[in-house]
Every structure is written in structure tokens, then in C-alpha cells.
Amino acid sequence: MIKYLLKKEFKQIIRNPFLPKMIFMFPLMVLLVFPWAASYEIKNLNLSVIDNDHSTYSRRLTQTIISSNYFRLTDKSASYNQALKSIESNKADIILEIPQNFEKSIINREPVKVMLSANAVNGMKGGIATTYLSMIIGAFNTTLISELFPEMAGSSSNMIQIDSQYRFNKHLNYQVFMVPALMVMILTLLCGFLPAVSIVFEKELGTMEQINVSPVPKITFILAKLIPFWIIGFIAITIGFTVAWLDYGLIPVGHFYIIYTFAAIYIFAISGMGIVISNFASTLQQAVFIVFFFMMLFIMLSGLYTPVDSMPNWAKWIAAFNPLKHLMIVMRSIYLKGSNFTQLGGELAALLGFAVFFNGLAVLSYRKTN
């Protein structure tokens, strides 16, 4: 019996005016545009400098900052108020104010304060800007010490040398971080949203009733709805792999078959969730809003943009029940770190749990008879 239902689903998908296009265009669009738009990579921060000292050292400091690639000098302001105007009109992101006695203090080995004022409306951006600027100033400081007072640096006073190393993403490339996670988003939107819409659509058209009055078993009907999305998901994720490779030069360190296995379980779980929603919704509009609501919650609490580790405990608990979060960890780990099944055992168990839960609920909440 399922053979006939599957045939029907595939024909309907292929004949739909935009579904087939969407299955191909959506992953392409997301992967080509999102990594550029959805980025916290902070480069080219606009810097406004108030140099009250006009000395060699103050100019050197400014020069060092600009040559760091993170900052771009927008203007040199004469006063703090003038610099603040640049911030108000969004021309500058951060102000560096160098005091009058800057050079003198350095030569006299006296501590001197420089003022950093960042536009913190976007607290994240403000924070990153000040961190970067402080780091650059710190490095400048060290250079000055070894230049001016070599006896201090080279003396047998205690010196701890820190050697920093970044693993898995050596060049601290933000896109490398985003691309695997965006594949999760593609799977979620395609395979969670479409099944929900497809069932509610049948309800509105009345064909659902025609099915309900026939002897089709619930599981058969739900499976016939799920299997096409499995295939759609596989196509989408394969497009994702290709784009990641061609456009970003990204190839998973781990094995493809591990990703496909996880994706298979995940699609099953997320489509099941879509079907549960469609069972409760009676109109398309309602279904769309319920799906939208949960997707938004899931995406925000998935660690896509902000790390789950930085969340308060209650939010971490909610995130633990978020299938997206688990697959996101999986994708990033396999792509960047080459993790294997054993290392991802917890995620595997969680995703299997969601798959069983949502599909169980889908079968239970689907009522052929009211």
C-alpha cells in the first residue's frame, strides 16, 4: 500500500511549481549568502582617534593599530565631543583617546592611561572591539618595553613565555565555523517545515478526509510523508557538501558516512516534529505560525550564533532538548575536528531519542477518527 502513497507524494513534489526549485536553490542561497551576512567576524572596525599628545609614540601607537587589519581610521578628532558625534552618526565604532603627556610618561616609566570608548549598543561588537584594541595596545606595550628597557626584558626577572596555538580552525575563519552549522539549518527548514505544510495543505483541500475515510494505517501514511523528505534532505545536504567544498574549500576532517548517518536520524526526528505540529494545526496559517515559533526558538537556542556554553543554566536545560543543538555540535565536530561515533555518543543517543519521541507522538496525535 505504501508504494502507491509514495508514488503520489513524489509526483506531487515534482509537479509542485516551486518545491523542486526550492530544494536546490535553498541550500545554495543559504550557503552562499549566510556565511557573509550572518557573521560576527569583526574586521574593519571604524576608529576615531583623539591624539592629544601629537608625539612620535602616539603616532606609532595609532599606526600599529591600523596596520593590525582590525581597525580602520575614520577620523582624527580634536575633542572627545567631536569624536562622539562620529559615534552618534555610526561613522565610528570606537574612540581612542591618547592623553597629552603620553610620550613623556613612557620615557619616565610612569603608567599612563589611554581611553577606549566603544559604541556598545551592540554589546557583542563593542566588547570584541575593545578586546582587540586592548590586545594590540598590550603588544605595543611589550614591544616598547623591550625597545626602551632591554635590561628589563632580558634580565633574569621572571618571564613566562606564552605560546598560543589555535586548533581545528587555524586562521580563525568565521565561515569555517558557520558553514557546517548552516547545513543543519537547511535540513531543519526543509525537512521540518515542509512536512507540516504538506499535511495541513491536504487538510485544507479535503484530501486528508478522503485518506482518513480509507483503510490506510496511520503509520503507513506518516511513513509515506516522511520518506520523501529523507531523500530531499539527503539531496540538500549533498549540495551543501559540494558548496562547502567549492566555495569555502571545506572538507570534513571526519567521515561522510558518519554525517549521513546522523543526518538520517535527524531528518527523521525533525520531520516527525513537523508532522506533530500539522496534526494540531487546522489551517495553513496556524501551522506556519506554530512552525515559525518553534523554529525561531530552536535556532536561537542552538548555538548557531551564540555559544550554548555562555547561556545561563535554565537555557542550557532547554537547549539540551533542542535537536538542532545536538546536530550542530555533531556537524562542527565532524567537519572541523574529525570526531567519530564514540566521541559523539551522547548526541547520537539524544537524536535517536528525539526521533522515537516525535514520531511516536506523530502517530499517536494523528487521529483518523475524532
Partner: protein
């Protein structure tokens, strides 16, 4: 006029009968505000650290203690060989590794230099940069403390001031963004789906052949969504002031006026979509793909527009939410007067006029 009133009442009943949707529309901003306000932050906290220190001496122990004591780090594993680092990273058990060279304390005392290797799991580059910075700072502070107090150490001291948002609360950035998104969602997406639904069901024709003027039909269709938007605006304002403690620094009147203008633009967008499409599914796709994603990505709601490539920056100019969010930030957070947002207002007025003109024209064409 009385006729219009009774039609508006009918539309209200229609929408409020669908409790689930109304609940979602009213709850969505509340939940978003709470999540954005309390759950989402990029602050690095309790980063898990794996330590390799084969010689457990005095200096090593003191540095480990300092790292562990800081709010940024939690030392979770004491490992013995470097192979364990990658394993810990792959399991997600740790994000930072600190490797002390053998005889660390002794080297420090006798040769004057000692080495620590900091290895970060840089999967998330921003987080990695931040916690690397914090860890280096802690080690540097330790070094300064054990060095004889010397003048000249740490000569240039940066003093940081965070303007407008001293505690760097992310809500300051998100409240305007949530406002911008909710209004588009309700006014553009819901309105277009509702009107197209009537078209699909054939009831729109009945309304259009009735003696009522078409403009009244449209007004009565959008009135409930207008009211919902205003309710949401007020909810978001109340939550942001009393729960998130994000104050309205500028004038509330200006803020409200700009919001009304934005609602008007969003409604005319919804109207336009509904005249362009004939199926609910298409209306949904257009508003979902064409509105929601651009609003979330290109409006500056979450991601700063300035960092995007020129092409995307160009497109962002056509996203109404971008101008609205900028105006809200300027008035509400920075506390500047309405004169500072004249450009935003101008763009929104222009967009609204163009949209309304096109959609009314289209609407008339369809009637004739």
C-alpha cells in the same frame, strides 16, 4: 462609516477565533525578549580547560588555581600526554588546553624563562579569541605579581568605557531588532496570508462585489493586524523597560511615531504581496523567504551590516527593517532627538508611498 465599523468587527472576530495563532502572536515577542535578554550572550564563561603539568610544582599550581578561580574558566581535566588534548576537544569536554613545560617552576627561577603552551579549540573563532585573551591576561598578571615591583611594568593602561550600554547587555541591541521583526511578521506576513486566503476561498469576490468601497474592505482587513502590532509594540516596550531594564533614553513620542510609520510600511508590503500572489503557499514563501530572512540577516538586528560585503550592504538598503531598527536604536538607546533620524524617516516614507501606490493600482486593475 457604520458599515466600515461592522466590517472591522467581523474581521476581529475572525482573527480572534483562531486562539492558537493569536496566542503565538502575542507570546512570540515576550519569549523572544526573554531569550534575547537573558539567554543569549557571547560572553565567555566557565570555559572548560584541560591541563598538562607533568611537574606539579609551586608556580604551576598557582597558575592553575588562578585560572580555575576566574569566572572565565573551569579546570576539568588533568591530563598527562598531549594526545589527550585532541581527544578532549573532540569529545567536547574541553575548549582550552594549557601545557606547562617540565620543571616549570625551576626553569622560571633559574633561567628566568618558562614556557606555557595555550592550545585553543578554535572551532568558534570569536570565543577562542576571547578566552585566549583572558587566559593570557591571567598568566601575565601572575607574572607581574611574582616579579619584583618595577616601575614601568604595564606602562600603557587602557581604560575602557562602554558608551550607551555600559554593561554590554545584549538586549540593548536586540529590543529594536525584535520590534522590527515582529511588526513585519504580523503586518506583512499575516496580512498577506489572510487576504490571499480569502481570494483562494472565493470570499474576497463576495466582499468586492458588495456595495462597500474596496478601500474600506482593505482597511477592515488590516485593522486587526494594526491593533495587534500596537499591542506588541507596547508589550515589548514594557518588557524592555521593566524586565530587561533597557531604558527609553529618548522621547517615547518620537519612538511611537516612527513605529507607526514602520507599521504603515509593513502593512503596505503585506498588501502588495497579497495582490501579487493567488495562493496562500506562495504568499507564505514570498513573505518567508523574501521578508523574514532579509529582516533577520540584513537589518542589523543580529549581525552588524557594516561588516558585510558591498553587495549585501547594498541590498540591505531595501530592507525597511534596517532603517527602522537604526531609528529605534538612535532614539531609544542613544537618546538622540528625532532630527538625528530624519534620513531613516525619509526612506521609510518613500518606501511606504511607493508600496501603497503600486498595491492600490494593482488592486484596482484586478477589479476592472
Amino acid at each position: 462609516m457604520k458599515q466600515l465599523w461592522s466590517f472591522i468587527r467581523k474581521e476581529f472576530h475572525h482573527i480572534f477565533r483562531d486562539r492558537t495563532t493569536v496566542m503565538i502572536l502575542l507570546l512570540m515577542p515576550v519569549i523572544q525578549i526573554i531569550l534575547f535578554g537573558f539567554a543569549l550572550s557571547t560572553e565567555v564563561k566557565d570555559t572548560k580547560v584541560v591541563v598538562i603539568a607533568n611537574t606539579n610544582d609551586d608556580a604551576t599550581q598557582r597558575i592553575i588555581d588562578r585560572i580555575d578561580a576566574s569566572e572565565y574558566f573551569d579546570v576539568v581535566i588533568m591530563a598527562h600526554n598531549s594526545g589527550e588534548i585532541n581527544a578532549a576537544f573532540r569529545d567536547g569536554k574541553a575548549k582550552l588546553a594549557m601545557v606547562f613545560e617540565d620543571h616549570f617552576s625551576e626553569n622560571l627561577k633559574h633561567t628566568g624563562t618558562a614556557h606555557i603552551q595555550l592550545i585553543a579549540d578554535a572551532t568558534d573563532p570569536n570565543a577562542a579569541t576571547s578566552f585566549m585573551f583572558y587566559a593570557s591576561n591571567i598568566i601575565n598578571n601572575f607574572q607581574q605579581d611574582i616579579s619584583q615591583p618595577q616601575s614601568g611594568s604595564g606602562m600603557i593602561q587602557p581604560e575602557v568605557k562602554m558608551l550607551y550600554n555600559p554593561q554590554m547587555i545584549s538586549a540593548f541591541n536586540f529590543v529594536p531588532g525584535v520590534l522590527g521583526m515582529i511588526m513585519i511578521l504580523i503586518c506583512a506576513m499575516m496580512t498577506s496570508i489572510a487576504i490571499v486566503r480569502e481570494k483562494e476561498m472565493g470570499t474576497m469576490e463576495i466582499l468586492l462585489v458588495s456595495p462597500m468601497k474596496p478601500i474600506y474592505t482593505i482597511l477592515s482587513k488590516i485593522a486587526p493586524y494594526f491593533v495587534l502590532s500596537v499591542i506588541n509594540f507596547i508589550t515589548i516596550m514594557l518588557l524592555s523597560v521593566f524586565v530587561l531594564k533597557v531604558p527609553i533614553v529618548g522621547s517615547f513620542v518620537s519612538l511611537f511615531a516612527v513605529s507607526l510609520l514602520y507599521i504603515f510600511v509593513a502593512l503596505s508590503l503585506g498588501l502588495l504581496i497579497s495582490t501579487l500572489t493567488s495562493s496562500q503557499l506562495a504568499a507564505m514563501m514570498i513573505s518567508g523567504m523574501g521578508l523574514m530572512i532579509p529582516v533577520m540577516l540584513l537589518s542589523g538586528m543580529i549581525f552588524p551590516v557594516e561588516n558585510m560585503p558591498a553587495f549585501l550592504r547594498f541590498i540591505s538598503n531595501f530592507v525597511p527593517a534596517r532603517w527602522y531598527i537604526d531609528a529605534v536604536k538612535t532614539i531609544m538607546i542613544k537618546g538622540l532627538s528625532i532630527t538625528a533620524v530624519l534620513k531613516d524617516i525619509g526612506v521609510l516614507v518613500l518606501m511606504g508611498t511607493v508600496l501603497v501606490t503600486i498595491s492600490l493600482k494593482k488592486f484596482k486593475v484586478r477589479l476592472e
